[in-house]
């Protein structure tokens, strides 16, 4: 397991998520794809934090945790995003009785 | 709510743990809330009324055992009273007392089943309260076995009296039961009546307004829980009920708790009636000397009714002068108590539905006949 391998796996996951987010019709499927992208970003951050030395490392050993701290924040923000996003999806469903994104665009008033 | 959900139709029963036999409810749910309910019954239909037209008057007694199979004694009683009215005879006094005594014992047994399964449906799946109830019920069934050799399908009562006098060892056994039972009942009440979870599950749930209950011809504990002291033992005393004193427990809200409470109180009252019967009963004949095959005059009609554990149980008999009834119509309280199903259930949740159904305490043998 090397840094490059880890980064490439994360990149593949990100691109799969990107494809899904662009090419799916169902809002919830798009949501899932976005979650995959979040995860791959987290993976990248933690991998970089694990293998790459920040400039401050020599002075402050805790700076090795910067990647993990960022990942924690991203997870927290993702949780908020899902709560709000699903709230919007429910609101959308209430108005259009559908979770189809293409229909939602057509029914814009 | 602007949030439109898809209604879901579910068949509760005929194969379901809590439908008291083969009963089916077609329920439409919005989430867990009931929006529509349609009782479907007839799965246990055995044509009792038609069969009664093919048997002679005494043989029909065995059919009545199988109506409400948890209170056979009172079924016998209602039928026998109807036949006696048809024939214009009165049973001897000792038979009247014996009938009252066994009817009240049967009421206790039946209410214990009603209460036990009601608690079971509240989810005490460990079965503790149910088994407490069954423990006492078994003692009563043992007493019945001493009287007539059968525990469930007793056929103890006959037109014109009872099948035979109580054996000598019945009275000490009854005495022993009366010593033990109040303690067991207290144990059950302590376990159940002050339980906070039971309170929040039953208080104010599925109330039945009195006008609805009266308009739907509901009777028995369900009617009394809604606030009307209507009891045929008081209104039109039969057998020895004019000789004993008892109170009619009456609820106020008609909710599930009141129905439970009324039943529990009736058990106490029944116990007191049994005591009075034992104290007042005198030796004497227990059966009129009637011919083996009874015949009533042609064209005579009679309606005999009693207060069964579930409500007004009536037998309407028409005679054409033959050896069997020309027509036998049974007014079964369980069936008529089912008419309020919609009032009780719509708007409440699935969990309450099961409990409310249990609080009405229907018996499918009687509903489908």
């Amino acid at each position: 397991m090397t840094l490059q391998a880890m980064l490439i796996v994360a990149a593949i996951l990100f691109c799969i998520g990107l494809y899904g987010a662009l090419a799916r019709r169902n809002v919830i499927a798009v949501f899932m794809s976005i979650e995959i992208m979040f995860n791959s970003v987290n993976l990248t951050l933690v991998a970089l934090g694990r293998y790459v030395a920040p400039h401050a490392l020599a002075a402050d050993i805790e700076s090795a945790l910067t990647g993990q701290v960022f990942a924690v924040f991203i997870i927290a923000v993702a949780a908020a995003e899902v709560a709000l996003g699903l709230g919007i999806v429910f609101a959308l469903y209430r108005n259009t009785e559908s979770v189809d994104l293409t229909e939602a665009a057509q029914m814009r008033r | 709510m602007p949030f439109r959900t898809e209604p879901m139709t579910v068949n509760i029963g005929p194969q379901h743990p809590s439908t008291h036999g083969v009963f089916r409810l077609r329920v439409t749910f919005d989430g867990e809330v009931i929006t529509e309910v349609e009782p479907v019954f007839g799965y246990l239909h055995r044509g009792t009324e038609k069969l009664a037209e093919e048997r002679n008057y005494v043989q029909v007694v065995t059919l009545t055992d199988r109506l409400d199979y948890v209170s056979s004694m009172t079924n016998n009683q209602a039928y026998c009273i109807a036949v006696e009215k048809l024939l214009g005879v009165t049973p001897p006094l000792r038979a009247k007392y014996l009938r009252t005594l066994v009817a009240e014992l049967q009421r206790i047994a039946s209410h214990l089943i009603g209460v036990g399964f009601f608690l079971q449906e509240l989810g005490t799946f460990g079965g503790t309260p149910l088994m407490y109830c069954f423990r006492s019920r078994e003692r009563i069934l043992d007493l019945f076995e001493m009287l007539c050799g059968a525990r469930i399908t007793v056929s103890y009562l006959r037109p014109g009296g009872v099948f035979s006098d109580a054996p000598a060892d019945f009275w000490p056994a009854l005495d022993a039961f009366m010593q033990v039972f109040p303690g067991e009942l207290a144990e059950l009440e302590q376990l159940v009546l002050e339980n906070e979870i039971l309170m929040v599950r039953t208080r104010g749930v599925s109330p039945l307004p009195l006008d609805v209950a009266v308009n739907c011809s509901v009777s028995g504990p369900v009617l009394r829980a809604s606030g009307l002291a209507w009891d045929w033992r008081k209104e039109d005393p039969y057998d020895a009920y004019d000789q004993v004193r008892f109170e009619v427990p009456v609820g106020t809200n008609g909710d599930n708790y009141d129905r439970l409470w009324v039943r529990m109180q009736e058990v106490h009252q029944s116990l007191s009636i049994v005591r009075q019967c034992v104290a007042q009963i005198e030796p004497g004949p227990v059966r009129l000397d009637l011919p083996l095959v009874l015949r009533a005059e042609a064209g005579v009609e009679a309606y005999g009714r009693i207060e069964s554990p579930r409500g007004e149980l009536g037998f309407y008999l028409v005679s054409d002068g033959g050896i069997s009834p020309y027509r036998c119509k049974i007014r079964s309280p369980s069936l008529l108590n089912l008419t309020v199903t919609e009032h009780l259930l719509v708007g409440w949740k699935l969990a309450d539905m099961i409990v409310s159904l249990g609080s009405v305490d229907i018996n499918m043998g009687e509903v489908d006949r």
Binding site: I28, A29, L86 | -
Partner: protein
Amino acid sequence: MLLVDITFWGLSVVAIGAALGVVLVRDLFRAALLLVVVFLAVAGFFVLLSAQFLAVVQVLIYAGAIAILLVFAVMLTKDVPHGNLPNRLQVPAAMVAALLLAVLVAVAAATQWQPVPLAQQEQVAVVQTGSAGLANLLVSDYALAFEAVSVLLLGAAIGALALLRGRPEQAP
């Protein structure tokens, strides 16, 4: 380390396969379940990267909470077994994704990453495995961000409630 390598490649196959499943499977419910597999595989990666705390948080938040919310949302879809349809942008989306992948892989492979000095590797591993360092950082250096995130979460909770609260029924 042989074990670590085997685990890594195994997890990679699982994660990528499950991710592909999420975007390609027609059955939306199964897609949601595959998404949970992706989450769990990523948690496995975190363990390999000696970020135990993150791995557990990943399971708790993603697999335990977010996935459940998504599964509940799936019920909004009318025909769940065939609910995950592609739209017309399939081919362009695939092209964009492939292009991005190429760029990312090229960058990852071509960059000269500056590794942790050998002398400090032991120390770094200890710090990264324990959760105390992370806790210290969150309430000291990143306290402002931490508070901002709590406010954001509160706002999100209130916002979601406000969105979902039934509006008073308009008289017809």
